[in-house]
Assembly symmetry: C2
Homo-oligomer: 269 residues x 2
């Protein structure tokens, strides 16, 4: 694995592994059809950063969805009978519940203020990831923002466009914030990936004493998404793109779909 | 919130939020009774890094458990009838299963190769977090390593000792790797914290358009643990301590126990 040599004392051979995350400054408000790759290249230039092919760029799901026009005017949504029923249970806007149902395979849990579903992409999450915050309209309408149609494909397209603009082939990650069973608080997770491995398979590797490692598969992209989320959170909504520099592993490329556990293999159910 | 000003173009007022993670080099193999704070201070000096009070130091659970003598000789463990039964189901060493049961409040799920429990600390996890990898013995015995007795207290003690040695008051986080429902791969989580907030409560804050934020509580320490885990993974078992620099929020101090969701409030069950 690659290590960055840093501040080497003259007395010996010391190496330091280091990871650096930078929130790209002054990223513009994103609208439907905007060129996110172009915005990103410009923001990198403003920050005095030259993109490298071993960087990973983490994009908040919200800006991807906005650029892809996944904003829905709630005035155009007619709730079904099922949505009206469920909206009473969960005490949410029936039009929002209608969108959640359209985006989902099944309802996992519903109660007052709680609507956990299995999203059509296979993600188990609250409200099908539909966001009502920070989605405004000049005319004051009410909008909801859906997840990208296919976040892995979005990541791949964005990576291709970044390659054209910059000559580099960075990894691209699309992140969202998920609640979790058993634990308090949301954490960043990866819903789309391109150009790097979403999981690391350590099976077959031995530990220091030759015993097979107990933990075998690492949710690599989710850990990177959580790292980026720390910075997105403290950098405010104006910083939806984070550069991650210093990651060691670039292959095999693997989409975020690899992070979805087939239901029959779920250890916790 | 604090932002680091970096590479400011002379033309305007640009700010960049940045997070930096450094794996402390050449951390010694840890044995029972070792002074982890002393090891850490020495490793920081070797790396040419001066500790700051706004840093967080992330320690792999394994080194805390080793220093606290949580290593158990399997030869000394006599499995109960219940452990012998369960060991047949899960196909694991009955002595290990006995230790898992002693460390747990209840078994959440058991099947071949699978033993998910609610740990006495309230953590829902595989094998009660008991590790058999990288625990060796000069005489070649078989050992298991339990979680620290009280990881929040361990973090607080370590922080106090670091304050004495360095004059700084860093945050201290003890991390472990957990599997998760629905998703593939382990991610770093916080099992002990001192000197910084384990969760961030954003309730009451408005988004850009004045609408209350949908996501209200962030699993801050878990996100930091995941970030550190990326680097621990690529830096090998020899780097169990990660320095995290650039975190904005230092208060209120809150232990990792705050990350445990009371069972009756679990949205996903």
């Amino acid at each position: 694995m690659r290590r960055l040599v840093e501040r080497v004392p003259t007395s010996g051979l010391r190496t330091t592994a280091e990871l650096r995350l930078v929130a790209l400054p002054d990223f513009p408000r994103v609208m439907r059809g905007d060129d996110l790759a172009g915005f990103t290249a410009a923001a990198l230039t403003r920050a005095g950063l030259a993109l490298r092919s071993d960087d990973v760029l983490v994009f908040a799901q919200k800006v991807i969805s906005k650029a892809e026009g996944r904003q829905i005017d709630l005035a155009d949504v007619v709730p079904s009978a099922r949505a009206l029923d469920l909206a009473q249970t969960v005490q949410k806007d029936p039009r929002l519940v209608e969108l959640v149902l359209r985006e989902s395979r099944r309802v996992v849990r519903s109660a007052k203020d709680i609507l956990i579903v299995e999203h059509r992409l296979g993600l188990t999450m609250a409200n099908a990831g539909i966001d009502q915050s920070n989605v405004a309209d000049p005319a004051g309408g009410e909008f909801a923002l859906l997840l990208p149609e296919d976040p892995d494909a979005s990541a791949a397209r964005l990576r291709d466009r970044l390659c054209v603009l910059t000559g580099c082939e960075p990894g691209v990650l699309i992140s969202d914030s998920f609640g979790r069973p058993w634990r308090v608080g949301t954490v960043g997770v990866a819903i789309g990936c391109a150009g790097f491995p979403a999981t690391l398979d350590l099976r077959g590797q031995a530990d220091l004493f030759g015993r097979p490692l107990r933990v075998t598969v690492v949710g690599h992209a989710d850990e990177i998404a959580s790292a980026a989320s720390v910075l997105m959170g403290q950098a405010s909504e104006g910083c939806p793109v984070i550069l991650v520099r210093g990651l060691a592993l670039r292959a095999p490329h693997q989409p975020a779909a690899a992070l979805l556990r087939p239901q029959q293999q779920d250890l916790f159910r």
